[in-house]
């Protein structure tokens, strides 16, 4: 594993760390993603936004190697993810972390053991160092006091934070987040946002965040991709996307029901006057 550079700024280059080309994913006859192209630069916070059911989580699973696309390709650090040898794929996986929406903590391990698991399985560090490294990660996410608790005893927000601690256990180059602030109260959601921003700033970790939480997206993003119905509606610098004049994008950003959605209106045509 490549060590963290002592100068995170040096790692902020403009090279594309993750690229997707003409990504199309179908479930049966249903096209969930339709020709998505994107490039994530090293060291940036890249937010994938869109309404529920637009294909955000599918795109994230395509990008992190969990779900092969029907068509198109995904490359990480120049290596094609879905044609990589098992050894290369394992190497790429060790350089990435994934924070699942529900946490996905192993129920039979304590919180500390969950965070220590990737270190125990993938390194030959002394046990005392593994434990202290895991405790440091838990302290970063404010869960040191719950290190000996079992996942079933944690609240939803605590599970998300424990999952984040586990995702950064191996000092990855890229961390993928699936809805990191959904279901959290505004204070905890802001804490998670701050943590993502801090980890990006201090370690230079590339963050790819899927969310439909607009304040959260605006707070953390360097660049934003907006997905609508499985297609890229906009992609670019945060403020540029926020000012985009695309009508459907404006509906989403300004939290309006799309004009073509006739719910609540078409009953009028059936009224007798």
């Amino acid at each position: 594993m490549k060590p963290l550079s002592s100068d995170p700024a040096a790692r902020r280059q403009t090279e594309d760390l993750v690229r997707a080309v003409a990504l199309t994913t179908m479930f049966g006859e249903r096209t969930v993603l339709d020709g998505v192209d994107l490039a994530v630069r090293r060291g940036e916070v890249f937010v994938i936004m869109g309404p529920s059911g637009c294909g955000k989580t599918t795109l994230l699973r395509n990008l992190c190697g969990l779900l092969p696309p029907t068509l198109g390709s995904v490359s990480v650090a120049g290596h094609d993810l879905y044609s990589a040898s098992p050894e290369l794929l394992q190497h790429l996986r060790l350089r990435t972390g994934l924070s699942f929406q529900g946490g996905a903590l192993l129920g039979n391990l304590s919180v500390l053991d969950n965070v220590a698991l990737p270190l125990r399985e993938n390194t030959d560090l002394p046990e005392a160092v593994i434990v202290e490294t895991a405790r440091m990660k838990l302290d970063m996410v404010g869960l040191l006091h719950a290190s000996m608790s079992m996942p079933s005893a944690l609240s939803g927000g605590m599970r998300k934070r424990a999952a984040l601690a586990r995702a950064i256990a191996l000092d990855p180059d890229i961390v993928y987040f699936d809805e990191p602030s959904s279901g959290l109260d505004p204070v905890t959601a802001a804490e998670v946002d701050n943590l993502i921003a801090k980890l990006n700033k201090v370690f230079g970790i590339t963050m790819i965040v899927v969310t439909h939480d607009l304040p959260s997206a605006y707070a953390i993003a360097d660049r934003i991709l907006v997905l609508l119905d499985g297609k890229v509606a906009a992609m670019g610098a945060r403020d540029h996307v926020w000012m985009d004049t695309n009508a459907r994008l404006r509906d989403f950003i300004e939290r309006r029901r799309p004009a073509e959605d006739s719910r609540g209106m078409d009953v009028i045509s059936h009224l007798e006057v």
């Binding site: 002592s6 129920g107 560090l125 005392a128 490294t133 405790r135 440091m136 079933s152």
Partner: protein, 360 residues
């Protein structure tokens, strides 16, 4: 007075922490009052490297040795700004080993809890079926039919296969013993009594526990974990009448139906061996069976089998509904449901045999 200083190398990461840890342990053996860790030469580091530093600080703290860091670069200070070193190096609380009584209680309590849960579920299901019917809330036949399809129809092939093979094996074992005395025809008595009275109900219950009891425990356990049971209750739908009663009735009915299949196919297996290898005419085999078995044997065996089925259904549902601790709890409930079901089946069998053969 000079104090020992440990100097970290230019790279402080997981490939080099062993050097730092070994050097620190060597210095600690000299029992110094103060140790200094010089990080000034570090050019690159990772979390494991700083984890080793914190681990050393904690060990020194616990041994009463003062430890100082020097030469921290800005990136290191940025890293440490995300954690509280004071909190990390606080000595861990000693682990108190529980006493023998507490340990024994930890083993016995879940068993007692499980048994009580099964009894409570049995009582509530019985109430639901009897009192519910009196109140006009009948058993949900649509859901019961789905469960019967899984319990009985789904297990038909495996039950028939096991029954035929076991019938042949029993006949073979009996034939080897009986031919010494020249009374091979009694093979039919042996196969008939063994299959009808014991093997049929027992094997059916064991297959049912492995297939349907475990399925019920896992399904209901997963529903508890994903809050589906809570959602049903919140919607005013009683899980007992919606889920448990159909499963228990289906298991009882499934056990009854499968035992009849087992008995018939098992005796066919015995007859096949007797006719094919032992030279016993099928007519003589059937006549011998008619003499050896009474209607009471059938009735008791079927009553026994129905009780086994109900017990398997109740155990699976009771353990599934009290799942805790997520997926780990689901796995535990599934295993325990099979073990407890088989144990309970043997206990019920012993009670039936005592009543049938000894008490009368």
């Amino acid at each position: 007075m000079s104090h020992p200083t440990i100097t970290a190398t230019a790279t402080l990461d997981r490939s080099t922490v062993g050097i730092l840890v070994a050097e620190f342990e060597r210095e600690m053996r000299t029992k110094p009052k103060r140790v200094c860790v010089d990080l000034g030469a570090v050019e690159s580091f990772d979390s494991a490297g700083l984890g080793a530093v914190v681990s050393s600080m904690k060990a020194a703290n616990e041994a009463g040795v003062e430890i100082k860091l020097k030469g921290l670069s800005q990136p290191m200070l940025d890293f440490f700004s995300l954690v509280s070193v004071h909190r990390l190096v606080m000595p861990s609380l000693p682990v108190v080993r529980p006493g023998a009584v507490v340990r024994l209680g930890a083993v016995v309590e879940p068993m007692v809890d499980g048994a009580l849960a099964v009894l409570r579920t049995a009582r509530d299901t019985f109430r639901e079926l009897v009192l519910g019917t009196l109140r006009g809330q009948f058993l949900r036949l649509d859901r019961t039919a789905i469960e019967v399809d899984h319990c009985a129809a789904g297990a038909l092939a495996i039950i028939a296969l096991i029954a035929f093979m076991l019938g042949m094996v029993l006949a073979m074992q009996a034939y080897v013993q009986l031919r010494v005395w020249g009374c091979e025809v009694y093979v039919a008595d042996m196969v008939g009594v063994a299959v009808i009275a014991e093997i049929g109900p027992l094997m059916t219950a064991i297959v049912l526990a492995a297939r349907s009891g475990s399925r019920n425990a896992a399904q209901l356990g997963a529903m508890v974990v994903s809050e589906e049971i809570a959602a049903l209750e919140q919607m005013g739908i009683r899980p007992l009448s919606f889920l448990v009663a159909p499963k228990v009735v289906a298991c009882a009915y499934g056990a009854l139906a499968l035992t009849i299949v087992f008995d018939v196919v098992g005796m066919c297996g015995g007859a096949a061996f007797a006719w094919g290898f032992a030279g016993i005419e099928l007519g003589a085999f059937a006549e011998q069976l008619r003499q050896a078995l009474t209607l009471e044997d059938f009735v008791v065996a079927l009553a026994k089998s129905t009780t086994f089925g109900a017990a398997v259904g109740l155990v699976g549902c009771a353990l599934g509904l009290r799942v805790q601790d997520g997926s780990e709890g689901v796995g535990r409930a599934t295993t325990n449901s099979v073990v407890l079901s088989i144990f309970l089946v043997i206990v019920i069998d012993a009670l039936f045999v005592t009543w049938q053969r000894m008490a009368r």
